[in-house]
C-alpha cells in the first residue's frame, strides 16, 4: 500500500542520511581501524537504505536514484537525529549509540512485519545493526571511562544530541495506516530508555536532562543541516539529468 511505501521511505531516508554522514569519516578517522569500522557501518546503512528505497520506489514508480537524488528537501522523511553533523568523534559515537539501539529494537520488531519485504529487509539488516550497536557501545565505554577529556566530550555530545531523541518515538497517523506492517515507535521507548541508561551507567555517564526539540522530519520539516547535505549529495547527479552511471 501507499502507507507501507511511505513507511519504507522513512526507514530508507534515515539510513541514507546516516550513511552519508558516516561516509565522511572514511580517510579521517582517529585510527585506521575506525576508517574500516565506520566505513563498514556506513556501507551497511547505505545497503539498508537502498533496499528500503527500491521497495518504496516500486510503489511510486521511481528508482532508488530518483528518490535519493531528485527529491527536494521537504520530500525527505529522515529524522533530525541522523541529520546532525558529525562533530567530533564523540558526537558521531553518541549519534551512533542513540540510532543503533533504536534501529536494533525497531528492525527486530519489523522482522515480524506483516509485509514480507519489510520483514525480509529487516531480518537481514538487524544482524548488521546489532554490530553497529555493539560498536557504539564499546566506544561509549572507552570514551566514557577513558580520560577526563574523552568523558567531557561525551557529556557535551550527549547533551547536544539528546533533544532529537524524542522524535524517534512519536507515533504518527502513518503508523495507524501501516498497521501490522510497521511498528508503533512509542512502544519501543521503554526498552530503548532502559538499554541506553544501562550503557551510560556502565560508561560512567549520566542520562542528559535536556528538553526535547520540536522535530518533524517525518513531515518534511528538517533541521537546517539537511539542505547542505543534500546539496553536496545531489550536485553531480543533478548536473546530468537522465544520465546513467
Amino acid at each position: 500500500s501507499d502507507a507501507v511505501a511511505e513507511y519504507a521511505l522513512q526507514l530508507g531516508d534515515d539510513a541514507l542520511i546516516l550513511a552519508q554522514r558516516l561516509s565522511w569519516w572514511i580517510s579521517r578517522a582517529p585510527e585506521i581501524e575506525e576508517d574500516v569500522a565506520l566505513g563498514n557501518i556506513a556501507l551497511d546503512q547505505l545497503g539498508h537504505a537502498r533496499s528500503f528505497l527500491i521497495y518504496a520506489g516500486k510503489r511510486f514508480g521511481k528508482t532508488e536514484d530518483e528518490l535519493a537524488y531528485w527529491r527536494e528537501e521537504d520530500e525527505f522523511r529522515s529524522c533530525h537525529l541522523v541529520e546532525q553533523p558529525n562533530g567530533d568523534f564523540a558526537v558521531t559515537i553518541v549519534r551512533q549509540l542513540l540510532v543503533a539501539v533504536f534501529q536494533n529494537l525497531l528492525y527486530t520488531e519489523l522482522t515480524r512485519s506483516s509485509d514480507e519485504t519489510i520483514a525480509a529487509i529487516c531480518a537481514k539488516a538487524v544482524k548488521e545493526v546489532d554490530y553497529h550497536r555493539d560498536h557504539a557501545i564499546q566506544w561509549t565505554l572507552r570514551l566514557g571511562r577513558g580520560t577526563e577529556e574523552s568523558a567531557r566530550r561525551m557529556r557535551v555530545a550527549l547533551a547536544d544530541l539528546w533533544p532529537y531523541v524524542g522524535e524517534l518515538f512519536v507515533d504518527e497517523q502513518l503508523h495507524d495506516d501501516v498497521g501490522t506492517a510497521g511498528a508503533r515507535p512509542s512502544t519501543l521507548r521503554a526498552a530503548w530508555d532502559e538499554e541506553i541508561a544501562a550503557v551510560l551507567a556502565d560508561a560512567g555517564l549520566d542520562v542528559p536532562q535536556v528538553p526535547d526539540a520540536m522535530a518533524r522530519g517525518r513531515h518534511g520539516e528538517h533541521s537546517e543541516h539537511l539542505g547542505y547535505l543534500l546539496a553536496e549529495m545531489q550536485v553531480l547527479a543533478r548536473k546530468h539529468p537522465g544520465a546513467s552511471w
Binding site: 541514507l16 566505513g39 556501507l43 537502498r50 565505554l141 580520560t147 546513467s244
Partner: protein, 308 residues
C-alpha cells in the same frame, strides 16, 4: 656467518624468508621502506577517492566506492602489519609519513577533479599498481608476499570497477564521455610513471631483484601495462593521449612518448598539486584523533589492570 649462508640459500632456492629468520640489514631496511611506503600509499590513496564518496552520482556507485576506499584502509592495515614484522612499530612508520620523511606513491598527489577520475584511478592507477604488485606476491619475504596476495585479489576487483565506471561514461552522454576522456588524459602519463624511472636511472632495482623482492625491471613492467591498456582503451572507445604510441615489431616493444620525468621528480619532491593537502589532511585526522586514541589506551590499560 651461518645466517647469511642460510639466507643466501633460501634466496637461491627462491623460497621464503620469515620474520624470525636472519636477514641482512640492507634487506630488512629495503623491505621496511618498500612495504611501509606501500602502506602509506594505501592510506594517502584513500583521499582522492574519498573526495567523491559523498557526491557519487548513484547509490550503487556510492556503495562500490565506499567499499573500495575502505578496502584501501584494510590494505594499509595488513601492509603495516607486514612491515612491523621487520621490527619497526606502526607508530614510527606513521610518524615518518606525517613528518614527510617517508614517501608514498606520487600519483596520489594529483587531484581527483571529476567523477570520471574514479574510473581512471581504478582503471589506470590500480591497473599499474596490480602490474607492479602481482610479481610481489612471490616476493622473498613471506609476510609481504602473503599480504600482496590479498591486496592483489581486491585490487583487480577495483580495477574492473574503475573500468566499468569509464565504460558507462564513455557510452553515456557527450558530457560524460568528455569527462571520461579528460580523466584518461590526465592520468595516463602519471600512471606510466608509477613504475618508476627508466631502468638506467633506477640504481636500487638490481639489488632488489637479486633479493627476489623485485622480479621485473621498471621498464618491463611498464611495457606490460601499456600493452594491456592499449587493448582495453579500445573497448572503452576512448583514446590514450599519446600520438607517438605504437608497437615496434623489430624491438618487440611499445614505444610511448617521452614521459615528463621533471614533473615526476617535482611531484615526488613535494611540488605536486596536492602533496601539501594530502599530508595536512592526514596530520589533521591524526591530531583530531589523539584524544580518542588516548582514551582508548587509558581504558584498555584499566581493563588489563582489572583482569590482573
Amino acid at each position: 656467518r651461518a645466517g647469511q649462508a642460510r639466507f643466501d640459500e633460501i634466496i637461491a632456492k627462491d623460497s621464503r624468508i620469515e620474520p624470525r629468520d636472519w636477514m641482512p640489514e640492507g634487506y630488512r631496511k629495503t623491505l621496511t621502506r618498500q612495504i611501509s611506503q606501500h602502506a602509506h600509499s594505501e592510506i594517502i590513496g584513500m583521499q582522492p577517492e574519498a573526495n567523491w564518496i559523498t557526491r557519487a552520482p548513484s547509490l550503487k556507485r556510492k556503495a562500490i566506492l565506499m567499499a573500495k576506499v575502505q578496502d584501501e584502509a584494510g590494505h594499509g592495515l595488513y601492509l603495516y602489519s607486514a612491515a612491523e614484522t621487520l621490527g619497526t612499530p606502526r607508530d614510527e612508520l606513521n610518524d615518518q609519513l606525517l613528518s614527510g620523511r617517508a614517501k608514498y606513491s606520487s600519483i596520489f598527489n594529483y587531484p581527483a577533479r571529476t567523477w570520471a577520475d574514479m574510473g581512471a584511478i581504478g582503471w589506470l592507477v590500480d591497473g599499474a599498481a596490480i602490474a607492479n604488485q602481482v610479481p610481489l606476491c612471490r616476493a622473498s619475504y613471506g609476510p609481504y608476499g602473503r599480504a600482496m596476495v590479498r591486496v592483489c585479489k581486491e585490487e583487480s576487483f577495483h580495477q574492473r570497477q574503475g573500468f566499468e565506471i569509464l565504460l558507462e561514461l564513455a557510452n553515456g552522454t557527450a558530457e560524460q564521455k568528455q569527462m571520461a576522456q579528460d580523466a584518461v588524459n590526465r592520468f595516463y602519463e602519471p600512471s606510466l610513471m608509477m613504475f618508476g624511472p627508466p631502468d638506467g636511472d633506477s640504481p636500487n632495482s638490481q639489488q632488489s631483484m637479486a633479493w627476489n623482492i623485485k622480479r621485473f625491471t621498471n621498464d618491463d613492467l611498464r611495457q606490460r601495462f601499456v600493452g594491456m591498456i592499449v587493448e582495453q582503451v579500445k573497448v572503452l572507445g576512448l583514446t590514450l593521449p599519446d600520438p607517438e604510441l605504437r608497437f615496434d615489431e623489430t624491438a618487440g616493444q611499445w614505444i610511448h612518448k617521452e614521459l615528463n620525468w621533471d614533473e615526476f621528480k617535482a611531484v615526488i619532491s613535494g611540488h605536486g598539486p596536492c602533496n601539501a593537502q594530502r599530508l595536512a589532511r592526514r596530520r589533521e585526522a591524526h591530531e583530531n584523533g589523539a584524544w580518542v586514541r588516548e582514551a582508548a589506551a587509558a581504558y584498555a590499560a584499566r581493563q588489563t589492570e582489572k583482569v590482573a
